[in-house]
Amino acid sequence: AQSVTQPDARVTVSEGASLQLRCKYSYSGTPYLFWYVQYPRQGLQLLLKYYSGDPVVQGVNGFEAEFIKSNSSFHLRKASVHWSDSAVYFCAVSAGYQNFYFGKGTSLTVIP
């Protein structure tokens, strides 16, 4: 069965620090992987997605993620966070035909 695990429910970092949000997935086939962000009182917005090619994918606002097949991971990274990055981040895997599986989310707080 497909699943997504985000082991950190909450992460707090200082502004300007680097960031890594962890995501591990379970899927038997070729995964289609996504990171979404949810700002307060809003729906989810796509940050980046991966389905083939270069395992490091670039997204919006300086975010990137690396697909490591051997570790079944798709961690999200940013070199220097800003207070406006405070939000909830969701990792997701698509198993095809609209079957998206979402992790439980990681709530990021950036301290100014």
Binding site: R41, G43, L46, K49, Y51, S94, Q98, F100, F102, K104
Partner: protein, 115 residues
């Protein structure tokens, strides 16, 4: 660009009441979805629809009905609201049928409270 509009933004109901949530999209997307978001539980799929008049059950369909009478709209009905229920219902759409790598576009949600 397009937008997904969910109405109402806030919905307060009584136990046992039938409640309807509405969603409109102007992307001209084929596929639409309803997800339920509970705190600390991520998103769970309730229903999706790959074209008008099509309905497919998700993992959480029990207690809900859905309707897709037009390509641009997708409504969700809570058939009997449960007391103390609180959740956010998110509507989403995507452009292609069955395309795994397609992006989901989300509305801002309907926040349900049941008294």
């Amino acid at each position: 660009g397009g937008i997904i509009t969910q109405t109402p933004k806030f919905l307060i109901g009584q136990e046992g009441q039938k409640l309807t949530l509405k969603c409109q999209q102007n992307f001209n997307h084929d596929t639409m979805y309803w997800y339920r978001q509970d705190s600390g539980k991520g998103l769970r799929l309730i229903y999706y629809s790959i074209t008008e008049n099509d309905l497919q059950k998700g993992d959480l369909s029990e207690g809900y009905d859905a309707s897709r009478e037009k390509k641009s709209s997708f409504s969700l009905t809570v058939t009997s609201a449960q007391k103390n229920e609180m959740a956010v219902f998110l509507c989403a759409s995507s452009i292609e049928l069955g395309a795994s790598a397609e992006t989901l576009y989300f509305g801002s949600g309907t926040r349900l409270t049941v008294l």
